[in-house]
């Protein structure tokens, strides 16, 4: 495009910038202008270049930009680069053509030389610049505002997301906490019901042993009274069933003792060879009944006397061999013992019981030692038993310090084995346990026995058994301790058989009273309890020995013979004296961790509870003292019972335990002296706790 100065001047005249300028002057300016052509995208000038010219767009269009950021678009008839008219400085923006564009370029010097006679034009230029700057500023501000809004919105969205995430996390935490509490609660309940179960089982089996005593004893008496042949069959069956029932009861009692951690092993001389012989002798008839072989293999290197618990070792082996016979239909059962390690002071023995029975799958073998579990659900129906035998055996082996294991294959048989270490004895032979011989019974001829027993049937069992076996025995029977004390004042006996638990006056108190005037007469306890602390109580009150109920003849007569003719207690292994754990040691320090945790560290509440505790001690301590000195044990029991949970809250665990022991001691009417001693210690602990926490605020 070729433009004449006249045409250009006409164009200038149309523009705001030049509208006040006369045409001839514009024509002169036009002649000083250069025409430039730019292609699309071509740069007119770059940002930061020094500029000294004003551009007028004659044709086409440009964009004003900073790199990619476009500030404005301008079309034909407008101008740009006007800042260069004021100041020869760097361009603030770049400008490039967006299409084929023709520009008129007016140099700064030309502009002023032509227009210096028209100062008004400067005013116009400045005014326009100001306007344009304001527009640009407004646009920028607007853009900033929009960005800010966008940012705010983004922040809000993000914040909402974060809040949501936090809420979700909190919800999950609360859920986890609830689940944890639920689990904790269920665990506590399970533990509590487990405790109930243990106690229930122990009580039940204990309660059942007493009538069993009567059933077995009476059956024994009938068996010895020349029954008819048909009666004999029935009596045999009663006897066998009773024995089975007694075995089951004993197993339940054993497992509850084991699970309560109350089972202890004896340490006496034993002969492993004899135990194996006895096990086989006991079970041979059952193997014979099933027509299977039973054999024993005893390592010749086996020392003749070792130290351990013969009764429990025999129990384990009886159980394993009994099981093996039970589950074997053909072939046989082999009981073997091997010395696997021999040292100067002890030796390790491996016992193995192999059978050719039905065997077990690995899954069955894995659970066979669990309580109440048998290899399969119908085992109980088919083979009988409580399912406790193997579990008891496992625990007993563990008490011996060994482990039991099983190797089994379905259809081929099983091998149960365990290794235990037993110390060598200083003795070379095991002291013989004497059985009941005719000579022994003869030696008892004509003795006078007092039987103190509240249970009618047990009284009959005891007297009939004694009457049958001891020639010319004279038996007197009374129903409780008070009657026993009374009759002992006027009559003379060679021996007293004393039940422990009786109404009116129990056997312990009766023994103490009888001992006041007669220290020599042998008194044997008849007790269904085999717990050491119970037995210890019998010795403590002056009894000469004890016979477990239900008794078997050899134990009864053996004990009577031993105490009358050998002058020794029939059960020589005295249980170690009972130690009252809570009594040992010094007084106990207060520990506030529980109430701190309960209150979440709330000082005011902690102080309040301490004050309540101190107040409670202030009332109960003199209350207990008074009741104790009045001999009002029922009141002592009530007060101790009430304050017991408070000790636990103050972290006085041992004192709480002691309170429980005192409660039990009072309930069992233990010797007053013993109770007084424990209560004194309790009071000492209570005073110490008051000292620990200071006077009430």
């Amino acid at each position: 495009m070729k433009i004449s100065p006249q045409a250009l001047a006409e164009l200038f005249k149309e523009m705001d910038l030049f509208e006040t300028i006369p045409y001839p002057v514009l024509e002169k300016l036009a002649t000083h202008s250069n025409i430039r052509k730019k292609k699309p995208g071509e740069i007119v000038f770059q940002k930061d270049e020094v500029g000294n010219a004003l551009y007028v767009i004659l044709e086409g269009a440009v964009r004003i930009h900073d790199h990619d950021y476009v500030v404005a678009q301008q079309a034909a008839g407008s101008f740009f680069g006007e800042l260069a008219l004021l100041d020869e400085g760097p361009r603030s923006m770049s400008v490039s053509a967006t299409t084929d564009t023709t520009l008129a370029v007016i140099g700064r010097a030309d502009f002023y030389s032509v227009l210096e006679v028209f100062p008004g034009v400067m005013q116009t230029v400045v005014g326009m610049l100001a306007r344009r700057l304001r527009q640009q500023t407004e646009r920028l501000v607007e853009q900033l505002r929009r960005r800010e809004e966008e940012l705010t919105r983004l922040v809000e969205v993000r914040t909402a997301e974060v809040v949501q995430q936090k809420e979700e996390a909190e919800r999950q935490r609360a859920q986890a906490e609830r689940e944890k509490q639920e689990a904790e609660f269920q665990r506590n309940r399970a533990e509590q019901s487990e405790r109930f179960k243990q106690q229930f089982l122990a009580n039940m089996s204990h309660e059942l042993r007493t009538p069993m005593n009567a059933v077995m004893g009476m059956t024994n008496i009938l068996l010895q009274k020349q029954p008819r042949e048909d009666q004999l069959v029935y009596l045999d069956s009663v006897m066998r069933s009773s024995k089975n029932l007694l075995t089951i009861l004993n197993e339940i009692l054993d497992i509850s003792k084991i699970e309560a951690g109350k089972m202890e092993l004896e340490h006496t001389d034993l002969s492993v060879e004899k135990i194996l012989e006895q096990v086989v002798a006991t079970l041979r008839y059952r193997a014979d009944e099933k027509n299977i072989a039973i054999e024993v293999e005893c390592d010749p290197a086996l020392p003749p006397v070792l130290v351990g618990d013969p009764v429990r070792l025999q129990q384990i082996l009886l159980n394993l061999v009994g099981n093996a016979i039970k589950f074997t239909e053909k072939g046989g059962v082999k009981l073997a013992v091997q010395v696997t390690e021999q040292r100067a002071e002890a030796c390790t023995l491996r016992f193995a019981v192999r059978d050719t029975g039905i065997g077990m799958t690995p899954e069955q073998a894995a659970i066979v030692f669990e309580s109440f579990r048998q290899a399969s659900g119908d085992t109980t129906r088919k083979y009988g038993g409580t399912g406790l035998g193997l579990s008891i055996s496992k625990h007993l082996v563990e008490l011996f310090g060994g482990t039991i294991s099983v190797n089994s294959e379905v259809g081929r048989g099983s091998e149960f084995s365990f290794s235990i270490e037993l110390p060598l004895s200083e003795h070379t032979v095991v002291a013989e346990q004497e059985g009941v011989s005719a000579a022994m019974l003869e030696a008892l001829r004509g003795i006078r026995i007092l039987v103190v027993e509240d249970n009618h049937y047990n009284r009959i069992v005891a007297s009939e058994t004694l009457d049958l076996k001891i020639p010319e025995v004279k038996i007197e029977m009374v129903e409780n301790g008070a009657e026993a004390v009374e009759i002992c004042k006027t009559e003379r006996f060679d021996l007293i058989l004393m039940d422990v638990h009786m109404p009116v006056m129990d056997g312990l108190e009766a023994t103490r009273r009888i001992r006041e005037s007669n220290s020599a007469i042998p008194i044997l306890a008849l007790t269904a309890s085999v717990i050491k602390t119970e037995i210890q109580k019998c010795y403590d009150c002056g009894m000469s020995g004890w016979i477990p109920k239900p008794f078997i003849d050899s134990e009864l007569f053996g004990a009577i013979y031993a105490v009358l003719h050998e002058g020794k207690a029939p059960m020589p292994e005295l249980p170690e004296p009972a130690t009252d754990a809570p009594l040992s040691g010094e007084t106990e320090a207060v520990d506030l961790r529980f109430i701190e945790e309960l209150t979440g560290g709330n000082e005011a509440r902690i102080r309040k509870y301490i004050d309540l505790y101190l107040e409670s001690v202030n009332t109960n301590l003199p209350g207990i003292e008074t009741a104790l000195s009045n001999g009002d044990y029922e009141r002592v029991h009530r007060l101790v019972h009430t304050i017991k949970p408070q000790f636990r809250m103050m972290g006085l665990e041992k004192t709480g335990e002691l309170a429980a022991v005192i409660e039990a001691a009072i309930a069992e009417q233990q010797p007053a002296e013993h109770i007084q001693q424990m209560v004194a210690h309790l009071l000492k602990n209570m005073r110490r706790s008051v000292d620990d926490m200071g006077p009430a605020a």
Binding site: Q181, E182, E184, F185, N188, R189, Q192, R195, F196, Q199, F200, N203, F594, I595, L598, T599, R605, K608, Y609, L612, Y613, E615, S616, R638, L639, H641, T642, I643, K644, P645, Q646, R648, M649, A660
Partner: protein, 127 residues
């Protein structure tokens, strides 16, 4: 006054335990707790229809001759067989627990340091 809170009666002659349990339950802000140191006092207020009663087994240490929890349990049940009762005791005997359950108690809580959490949980489940 209906605050939406459940009404709980606590009956125990052990003031310390009673206070601690009350504080513990009130802190949950879900229960209106009324406390009694004898069963007889609790019986007088049965007309207020509590949602649950937490009842101690022995109640005669502070007031000698006061009726024990077993007797109170039976009296409560004869007035309102549906009323929920949780028994509380430091008696750890199975037989006693069994007796209270047989006489209509819902649960039997042993008064040890776990009792607070256990009662909190029980209440959230049964009322």
């Amino acid at each position: 006054m209906n605050t939406g809170k459940k009404s709980v009666f606590l009956v125990d002659d052990d003031n310390m335990f009673l206070t601690m349990l009350t504080d513990h339950l009130e802190a949950l802000e879900r229960y209106n707790v009324s406390t009694f140191t004898t069963g007889e006092a609790c019986m007088e207020q049965l007309g207020k229809k509590p949602d649950v009663i937490v009842l101690d087994y022995y109640l005669d240490s502070a007031v000698p001759g006061a009726l024990n929890g077993m007797e109170i349990l039976q009296r409560i049940k004869s007035v309102d067989p549906e009323l929920k009762v949780v028994m509380l005791s430091s008696q750890e005997h199975y037989g006693i627990a069994l007796q209270t359950i047989a006489k209509g108690a819902l649960y039997y809580v042993i008064k040890d340091n776990q009792a607070f959490g256990e009662i909190e949980h029980l209440l959230s489940e049964i009322v």
